[in-house]
């Protein structure tokens, strides 16, 4: 209850922070536009003949939707955690009677409205290209919102777990780099998953990366049928719970170590 009472204020202050850091945030948002490079590349490839069911128009829709989903589900908690653990700044958060992850989550969520400013024009272009259409059915809209929330939660929890590893090592940046490389390859960030060979595609359906990006994109563009959406949501939310559990376990172990050895 106390957390629920505090959360609106945390969001408001987080939003004020996002506005104060707007220039930095804009630059950071632009670093998430790698799919636009992929878009140029794959459009050129598709100029002569479609790749699978992706012609030029489909690639435009897919990669713009990818940028949109990435903007709406991104988080930076891993960098903040690593830096605060290394500098000892985390101590000031630990002195407050609220779980630090609650405050981090509010800061990250509060930036979403600002990121929507970049996402909306992309979405309009994607829809105008005729590559897909926004879900209109209430159930489809609910599925989209649920999948975006799930993607954000997995991203946040995985980043938290990796950032928290800095309690145990000098820095966990390198581990995050490995995770990021896997994410780029296996989430549909650089190319649609269905263009991979069948066995790779099947593997990605069992890994968390798809549910952090490609899955909401598929719903957004109407590429997934109702059965696939339902199945995907179940897998996605299992990953949410699992990553949340892992994040909390690593966090607790990290705090025990911090308590034993200091910052």
């Amino acid at each position: 209850m106390r957390v629920l009472r505090a959360y609106p204020t945390l969001l408001r202050v987080g939003f004020a922070g996002a506005v104060a850091y707007r220039a930095e945030m804009l630059v950071w948002m632009l670093t998430m536009t790698m799919p636009l490079v992929s878009l140029a590349l794959w459009s050129a490839v598709a100029a002569t003949a479609p790749v699978g069911r992706f012609g030029q128009r489909e690639f435009v829709g897919y990669f713009l939707a990818t940028v949109v989903v990435r903007q709406l589900t991104g988080s930076w908690v891993v960098w903040e955690l690593i830096q605060e653990i290394k500098s000892g700044a985390l101590a000031t958060r630990l002195l407050k009677p609220i779980h630090p992850l609650v405050v981090y989550s509010a800061d990250n969520i509060a930036a979403i409205p600002l990121r929507t400013v970049l996402a909306v024009p992309m979405m309009i272009i994607a829809m105008a290209s005729g590559a897909g259409q926004l879900p209109r059915e209430p159930l489809a809209v609910a599925a989209l919102l649920l999948s975006l929330s799930g993607a954000w939660l997995i991203t946040f929890f995985v980043m938290t777990a990796i950032g928290t590893l800095s309690f145990f090592m000098e820095s966990s940046y390198s581990i995050f780099e490995i995770w990021l490389a896997c994410f780029m390859l296996l989430s549909g960030y650089l190319l649609p998953l269905e263009l991979f060979p069948e066995w790779v595609r099947a593997t990605t359906y069992g890994l968390p990366f798809r549910y952090m990006l490609s899955f909401p994109v598929e719903i957004l563009l109407g590429l997934a049928g109702p059965a696939e959406i339902a199945r995907g949501l179940v897998v996605q939310w299992i990953y949410c719970l699992a990553s949340g559990l892992v994040a909390l376990v690593v966090w607790r172990a990290g705090l025990r170590r911090f308590g034993a050895f200091g910052g």
């Binding site: 106390r2 009472r5 959360y7 609106p8 204020t9 945390l10 104060a20 000031t92 911090f258 200091g262």
Partner: protein, 332 residues
């Protein structure tokens, strides 16, 4: 069991295991395969008790274990051994009600949000500490009376001076009216007038609220002005716990008489009164045992060349230096 606002530390020890490596390329390569660790005993068998409402100075040289002890008391670090109770709680459990009742102000770390005005940090703390609006506004008004922050609290933190930031840090740390204050170098880097303002504020807060206060500072004037009692540690061990004046009297049972003359004084005459520690054409400082001060002053006042005379306690820094030297000798 301590009373609700007191602090009790019994045989506290805190060890760290730290990685050690010699300089040089070979040692760097070797450390990749074979890491050497050593145990640092930051605090050893430390015991003390602080009654509710007391203001206590916590002193010691760099690396003595002061900040480690404060972090244990605030629940950031777990004791290696021994027992700690703060306001009836075990700090390392970091319970909600414990965190609501304490604050730790670290002069070298800030909780204010750097690019936002301090009012935003205050609002955030109001939500986190679940302070109702009326009480929040009442506390803000009181803090403003003591610190004069209403005008600066709306400017971005990064644009405030160090002193203004520290005032806002104190306000942010005290918004929830903590009953136990841990202050780690709260005046570090501040100019003299701002040090005085912060000092006055701490005394006032303690007297108004009866909050138990444990203060570390490298500025001995802070400690002398605020803390009737001091706890002194060196290399993690307790050296002294008691009345500040008694410490000074025990370690340096003499006073310094500072004399200013219109022309050069007679050095031999001064040496007959006490030990001359400073001497030049118009100024001299003579150290005399406390019980002889009265006679010495009476004698010195007879000199027609004397322009001014003041009696001073030895500086606290000197007293502590001597205390640490004695402790080291005893240890050896």
């Amino acid at each position: 069991m301590t009373s609700e606002r007191g602090i009790e530390v019994a045989s506290l020890s805190k060890d760290y295991r730290v990685h050690s490596r010699q300089a040089g390329l070979w040692n760097t390569v070797r450390s990749v395969f074979h890491r050497k660790y050593e145990t640092v005993h930051a605090v050893r068998d430390l015991s003390f008790r602080i009654e509710p409402g007391e203001r206590v100075g916590f002193l010691g040289p760099n690396g003595a274990g002061k900040t480690t002890t404060l972090k244990v008391l605030a629940g950031l670090l777990h004791p290696t051994s021994g027992a700690v109770t703060v306001a009836g709680h075990k700090p390392q459990l970091r319970e909600y009600w414990f965190l609501k009742r304490i604050t730790l102000v670290m002069g070298q770390k800030q909780q204010l949000i750097w690019d936002l005005p301090p009012v935003e940090t205050f609002a955030q703390n109001r939500a986190i500490y679940d302070i109702d609006r009326d009480r929040f506004e009442q506390t803000m008004k009181e803090l403003d009376q003591l610190l004069g922050i209403s005008e600066i609290a709306s400017k971005p933190t990064r644009q405030l001076s160090l002193g203004e930031r520290m005032k806002c840090e104190l306000a942010a740390a005290l918004l929830h009216r903590p009953e136990v204050l841990f202050l780690d170098e709260p005046t570090i880097g501040l100019d003299v007038s701002m040090q005085l303002a912060v000092r006055d504020f701490i005394r006032d807060y303690n007297e108004r609220t009866g909050a138990t206060t444990l203060l570390t500072s490298h500025y001995m004037d802070d400690v002398a002005a605020l803390c009737p009692r001091v706890i002194v540690i060196d290399r993690g061990r307790l050296c002294y716990d008691g009345d500040l004046r008694k410490l000074v009297q025990t370690i340096r049972p003499d006073k310094s008489i500072v004399l200013r003359y219109t022309e050069r004084p007679d050095r031999a005459a001064l040496e007959r009164i006490g030990t001359v520690t400073e001497y030049d054409s118009i100024k001299a400082v003579v150290r005399v045992p406390q019980q002889e001060v009265r006679d010495a002053v009476a004698h010195l006042l007879l000199d027609p060349k004397l322009h001014d005379l003041t009696i001073e306690d030895p500086p606290l820094e000197e007293v502590l230096r001597e205390l640490f030297a004695r402790t080291a000798e005893e240890g050896a």
